[in-house]
């Protein structure tokens, strides 16, 4: 890995390489460059994940001439695809050095870096939604229970905007969540469930299921589950595989080709 990065930097394939380095006991993202090749010995794969592609996109927004390499897990790869589809970066601006999802002998290829799923207290399990549940498991609840469980989760929201700020594919200059007509300012909890549903709808065809939003949420709202459902719908209805496809997503107004119409679906409401 280190040799490859050295090679990339020396041949000028990338001008900057974003990897991780241990600083004061914390694995932190670090920018390696041609000037400090000696530092490459400290390059590690961190168990704590940061959205390196988001950092790279932010640098590229200011210095578009750069070429940046990143250490990439599957989720980073998907996010780079989505950013390219949404024309935030040009193809080739970000080079990915693929690494195993989890630097662990236990699980060679996990859904994310969390090896041990978090366990939750009895109150949350009784009244709210268990973050470890799957979309299919949610279907066993009836409508009334689903509603009260989701509202229990949404009403905890502190409106920290952490889910948006950490999201690798949230790049809009004007965010609907800051639109006064949609989400009024000054109140807590924010307008439930509008706040979360607005974000959920905007994640359709965009969310790469990296789980960073849920990790950043101070009140453990099962955001990943919600966005999984949203992307599941997009896949069922429009056959669009978010993060894997290089076409415009179904709700996009950009691009020349018209995305497919909704197909008739069996679960009519």
């Amino acid at each position: 890995m280190k040799d490859k990065v050295r090679d990339w930097l020396e041949t000028g394939k990338v001008d900057l390489f974003l990897g991780y380095k241990q600083v004061d006991g914390h694995p932190l993202p670090h920018a390696f460059s041609k000037e400090n090749l000696a530092e490459l010995g400290e390059l590690i794969v961190s168990p704590a994940r940061y959205a390196l592609e988001k950092l790279a996109t932010e640098i590229l927004a200011i210095k578009p001439a750069l070429k940046i390499g990143i250490l990439g897990r599957d989720c980073n790869q998907r996010a780079v695809n989505v950013l390219t589809v949404h024309q935030q970066i040009s193809p080739g601006q970000i080079q990915i050095l693929e690494v195993n999802c989890c630097p662990s002998p236990l699980r060679k290829h996990a859904a994310c870096s969390t090896l041990q799923p978090q366990t939750y207290g009895a109150v949350k399990l009784e009244l709210g939604v268990d973050n470890n549940m799957s979309v299919a498991q949610m279907d066993q609840f009836d409508q009334e229970s689903l509603y009260s469980r989701w509202m229990y989760e949404f009403q905890k929201c502190l409106k920290c905007y952490g889910c948006r700020d950490i999201c690798p594919v949230c790049f809009c200059k004007e965010c609907s969540l800051e639109n006064n007509d949609l989400v009024a300012t000054g109140g807590l909890p924010p307008e439930v469930p509008l706040f979360h549903l607005i974000r959920a709808v905007h994640m359709a065809g965009r969310c790469v299921d990296c789980g960073l939003c849920e990790e950043a949420c101070p009140v453990d709202i099962p955001l990943r589950l919600l966005y999984r459902k949203v992307n599941g719908i997009v896949k069922d209805l429009f056959g669009y595989e978010t993060g894997g496809s290089h076409e415009q997503p179904p709700f996009s107004l950009l691009g020349e080709s018209t995305p497919p119409e909704a197909e008739p679906h069996s679960k009519a409401v």
Binding site: L146, W150, P193, L197, F238, F251, V269
Partner: protein, 90 residues
């Protein structure tokens, strides 16, 4: 685009427990009978579902916090996406 979004929302809303409160129909100004039929049907469907839980919870949480701007129109209707013609909540 509208059709795509509505089909999408029809799948999403049941997931958070608000199913059956959204409907999209194309009705021409010449189709008075269809309009009557659709509105009657949908009103009946909504009435059977009972009051919109969203309006209640939202109102309550604001009352208890006592910092109420008047609940916006969106919370009163079925979905809040502006499709008032077909999505009139009961």
């Amino acid at each position: 685009m509208t059709k795509k979004r509505m089909t999408f929302l029809k799948e999403l809303l049941p997931f958070i427990g608000l199913g059956g409160r959204l409907r999209l129909e194309w009705i021409s100004s010449a189709e008075a009978q269809k309009f009557v039929k659709v509105v009657t049907e949908f009103t009946e469907q909504i009435r059977n579902l009972g009051p919109n839980p969203l309006a209640k919870t939202y109102g309550d949480s604001l009352d208890s916090l006592d910092l109420a701007p008047a609940p916006s129109e969106a919370t009163g209707s079925g979905c809040g996406c502006g499709c008032s013609k077909a999505a009139a909540g009961a």
